[in-house]
Symmetry: C2
Subunit: 332 residues, 2 copies
């Protein structure tokens, strides 16, 4: 979904991206789960998108097809890998092999895939630093919202003490609906699936593991923790009863699935927050509070998912990579 | 209030600021409304604070006293002016003369005062650019929240279309209380004054003019408009009736004083927002939504005022100025 949104943006906004941000992107390779197509002079994003929508990349007549994944990266003259593979929390694949291979070949990396980062964050960051490449991942948390940059800004000249986030839109939609309509968890989940807010297999969301990946990434990048997914104590929302939600509401509270990171804890669990708290966000929205010692609590709220939104986060990362590379070049 | 909070922070966090951010600040002058005390080798922030709390700066035995404001700036060996004078929307003084004089003498400027900026934004920015000095003002909007930086981040690689903000905590407290308790405007204002949320003369807040200053600053700095306070169509909350608030509530809406800036409008007025909208923030909080074409609407919420909070924004600006100056120096 995100990869196709990005192709769409690249085909529609190419001139604007070049004029406004100096991003003259040339697509020298594209890959899906079956193989890759490479072309040194550049593939046409609109054409790639059309072929992909009609089936696999193998149908692309332009360029050279290979099923050597991620081996083709070694043969490629490229500057940046954009990784939009699905999140896999068992072994982080195929994201992990792609990112690792790209770093080893000296490519900067922009990823929106959470698994490899959550499982191997400290190792991947160290590898990137050692090889002098940039590794960015804005789109892994909060979709199109600049959550990581915002968190870092809150900590500038202040000390960040805590991050608390409603980081998963699916579970928040379910909890909001239980609150508003008195539906059971199963009923609200069914509704969320019918409306496209929940996947057919909603395990990653409702178990709290998606939130756990995101809080791991935030804890590392914003709080400077060296943590991985296994450090997070996780419980999901499957056991939340209608009574619990109603009782909370009667007391002016709302049940929310929160990811929490501070000096002691790294935890995901359903908790109650005051209904006036900016975290008591409704529907499929996300909300993340950064608590700093001197400047207080700052919350960012918005849509935490979506193809075009997340693709915009990729662009934001690409602009940042470009900026860093230009700054470096001007220092030589 | 903000100046004293800053002195407090400088006296308590000096070593940390130097170690973590390279900010080895030397206070070569302090001024209040009556005069200034200068000392090239540096004043002691704790001592200045103590004297100021006991009366005027004239009582400070350390350094040289002068009542030549802002003329003393011309005699000073200084790098940065920090302006925390009260907001004056009639002629922007004394902020305007201080900022102008500082820029002309080659000082970088950090201000938390809104009047001069709202009245003369395009001219002051142009003057600063022309003289090669940095002019920053994070603390003018949203207290300790990094609102301006967040807005700019939302627009990176995307097109910002609109800014909508609950930018004044006093009026939001009043409207929230009218909503929750059925109080009239006068009653809620009285309560806000008793609790310290509203000043004895609340004109600037309830008239919408404080919000107008803030939306002018945001429109200029984040949307790139060349606007001044007189371009804003302003109406306040004095005429809001209990019935209006109750009727809105019955329809699932909340009345909020909004500052709005987009391609066409620059406006401050009470409007209704959905009660699930992140802008329907309660109490003295602020909330600002940045709407971008591709990545959607992102809202930042938090306490929009307070001495220590706003002083932290000054520090954030100082760190940014330092960073820019260091980057420049390394490019020579």
């Amino acid at each position: 979904v995100v990869g196709q949104s990005l192709l769409q943006i690249l085909s529609e906004r190419y001139e604007e991206l070049r004029a406004r941000y100096g991003l003259g992107l040339r697509l020298v390779a594209v890959a899906d789960s079956t193989g890759a197509v490479t072309k040194a002079s550049g593939l046409n994003p609109a054409q790639v998108l059309q072929v992909k929508k009609g089936g696999g990349l193998k149908g692309l007549k332009d360029g050279n097809y290979t099923d050597d994944l991620p081996g083709f990266l070694g043969e490629l003259e490229a500057d940046i890998l954009i990784d939009a593979t699905p999140t896999n929390i068992v072994d982080g694949e195929p994201s992990y092999s792609f990112i690792r291979s790209a770093i080893l070949h000296g490519l900067d990396v922009v990823t929106v895939s959470k698994g490899a980062l959550a499982l191997y964050f400290p190792a991947l960051k160290e590898l990137a630093a050692h090889r002098g490449v940039v590794l960015r991942f804005s789109g892994t948390v909060g979709g199109g919202m600049p959550v990581i940059e915002f968190g870092k800004e809150c900590g500038r000249a202040d000390r960040l003490e805590k991050i608390i986030g409603v980081l998963n839109g699916t579970t928040n939609y379910i909890l909001s609906r239980m609150e508003e309509t008195g539906q059971t968890f199963r009923e609200a989940l069914g509704e969320a699936q019918r409306l496209g807010y929940a996947e057919r297999d909603p395990t990653l969301d409702i178990s709290g593991l998606d939130t756990a990946c995101k809080i791991t990434i935030l804890a590392n990048e914003v709080l400077g923790k060296g943590a991985t997914l296994s450090d997070v104590k996780v419980s999901g929302i499957e056991e939340i009863g209608v009574d619990e939600v109603r009782t909370a509401r009667e007391r002016g509270l709302a049940v929310r699935l929160l990811g929490v990171a501070d000096g002691r804890r790294l935890e995901v669990s359903p908790q109650t927050v005051g209904e006036r708290d900016p975290l008591a966000v409704k529907g499929a929205l996300n909300a993340i509070t950064f608590k700093a010692t001197h400047s207080g609590s700052h919350t960012i709220t918005g849509k935490g998912a979506g193809g075009p939104e997340t693709a915009t986060s990729i662009l934001r990362d690409l602009v940042a990579v470009k900026k860093m590379r230009v700054a470096e070049a001007s220092n030589i």
